[in-house]
């Protein structure tokens, strides 16, 4: 008898750890690692929560995994950056609306000594070919993230498929987030493709510097996707819509544009003029 009471008390104690979920309204935002790791969401969300009382709980994953999480119905809203994967998600009928909230760009970073001699260039595809020709180490996220997808698109433009890359010794697929890729590239003296937001806020650059930037093909756009109520009736769609609407509102766009790390702007709001 006593033991039953103990067990009940234990379960009660365990459940009492999550009183927040019941007390206030909250949504799960499946997002890319780049908007989380750069600190953007942590910086702008308090204003939204203060206004609406809705807490946004960010589960940061690579875009591929974030989309998969939403597809399973485990998120209420998506914030990602892989146009092709997003189009497929919409085509499958999982999404109700897809709106661009911001853009920045990708950069190819590499060691300052620049073994492939690509530094200062603006042609990302040519730079990757030069890195391959030099056999210089290149770190790939390999995690189906938006950045990984962008990287593979650039390689393909230069005539290299994922299968060909996998056979190369200098091509190092780490299967991890942007920060892990930068840590690895920093330790190996390797090149890698990074979103600018994570790059600017990253604290362990080591010998890495920007090697290539300013190519139109390095555009990186972020979209917020609301889920289709017909497929995702269990999701908190009304609260999710409020956050999506806020992101594209004047207030949300101003907050995104005002976000800075070390005095540098990381994201360009673009809801009114999508790229």
């Amino acid at each position: 008898m006593k033991r039953t009471g103990l067990a009940v008390a234990l379960v009660a104690a365990c459940l009492s750890i999550s009183p927040l979920s019941a007390a206030e309204q909250s949504i799960i935002l499946a997002s890319t690692t780049s908007v989380e790791n750069s600190g953007l969401l942590a910086a702008i969300m308090p204003a939204f929560t203060a206004r609406t009382g809705i807490a946004v709980r960010v589960v940061a994953q690579g875009t591929g995994k974030a989309i998969d999480t939403a597809r399973r119905g485990d998120a209420d809203l998506l914030l990602v950056h892989d146009p092709e994967a997003e189009q497929q998600f919409m085509a499958e009928g999982h999404g109700a609306s897809r709106r661009q909230i911001a853009w920045n760009d990708f950069v190819i970073v590499g060691p300052a000594e620049d073994p492939a001699h690509v530094r200062g260039g603006h042609d990302s595809v040519a730079a990757l070919s030069a890195i391959a020709a030099a056999g210089a180490p290149f770190v790939s996220r390999g995690d189906k993230s938006g950045t990984n997808a962008a990287e593979l698109r650039l390689w393909k433009l230069g005539g290299r498929t994922p299968e060909m890359l996998a056979a190369e010794k200098w091509y190092r697929d780490i299967g991890g987030g942007m920060g892990q890729a930068l840590n690895a590239a920093s330790a190996m003296g390797a090149y890698t493709l990074s979103d600018r937001g994570t790059w600017l806020s990253f604290a362990n650059k080591g010998p890495l510097v920007i090697a290539v930037e300013g190519d139109a093909r390095l555009l990186n756009r972020y979209d917020v996707i609301e889920l289709n109520p017909q497929k995702h009736a269990g999701a908190k769609l009304a609260a999710a819509k409020m956050f999506a609407d806020w992101l594209v509102s004047d207030e949300g766009q101003r907050a995104i544009g005002a976000f800075q790390v070390n005095g540098q702007k990381l994201f360009n709001p673009s809801a009114s003029s999508p790229k």
Partner: protein
């Protein structure tokens, strides 16, 4: 600082709750495995010992699929909550505590079991005595289970999602700080975690020491 304290307290809260639940299950199970002969007992003992090293990411993955809204228990809405983390950690700690309790209870039962039964106690009635005899081993088992839960990252990051202010524990915070390249902060958090592990170890030795000296007095 406030965030740091909330991360530490969430870590400890989740791990303590998981350890408590695992202990509540493992004590009677470990005792039963040691004292009651039933078909499949040996298989269960082997299983408990095998799950000693259950890979946390596998537990995390299976629980993720079970707790996902598309999964069988999805209607509970537990994915990405501290409760999901407690469940994952309890699953990881329970076999460790069960196996250690079983081992100690088996020895104690071999030595004192007949005596207790001849005094007229049933196996169930003898449980408090046996557990009292092996209390030092139980403390070790519980602390081993707690050490497993508090230091674990693979399962809690999968089912908890590392949500700031809700499911971010010390281990997942270390993973995040590392991914932001903030190795100094990651290391500081790691130092706190190691400090906790050392405290656990010190506690184990202190308790085991005092218990064994108490035991020698009995003998």
């Amino acid at each position: 600082m406030h965030e740091f304290l909330s991360i530490v307290s969430l870590s400890l809260g989740v791990s303590l709750a998981a350890t408590a639940i695992a202990t509540a299950v493992s004590l009677p199970v470990g005792y039963a495995l040691a004292t009651i002969a039933f078909p499949g007992r040996r298989a269960l003992v082997v299983l408990a010992n095998a799950f000693f090293g259950l890979p946390p990411v596998v537990v995390g993955l299976v629980l993720y699929l079970v707790l996902s809204r598309a999964g069988p228990l999805g209607f509970l809405g537990l994915l990405f909550t501290p409760t999901a983390m407690v469940i994952a950690q309890a699953v990881l700690a329970a076999p460790i505590i069960t196996a250690l309790v079983h081992r100690a209870a088996e020895r104690a039962w071999a030595r004192y079991g007949d005596e207790l039964i001849s005094d007229g106690a049933t196996r169930r009635q003898a449980m408090p005595q046996i557990l009292a005899i092996i209390r030092a081993d139980i403390v070790t088992a519980v602390l081993a289970g707690f050490g497993r839960t508090v230091s674990e990252v693979g399962a809690v990051i999968l089912v908890g999602g590392n949500i700031r202010g809700l499911t971010r524990t010390m281990t997942t915070a270390i993973a995040l700080q590392t991914s932001q390249g903030d190795l100094a902060l990651a290391l500081a958090l790691g130092a706190v975690l190691v400090g906790i592990s050392i405290s656990i170890s010190a506690t184990v030795f202190a308790l085991a020491g005092s218990a064994s000296s108490a035991g020698s007095e009995e003998a």
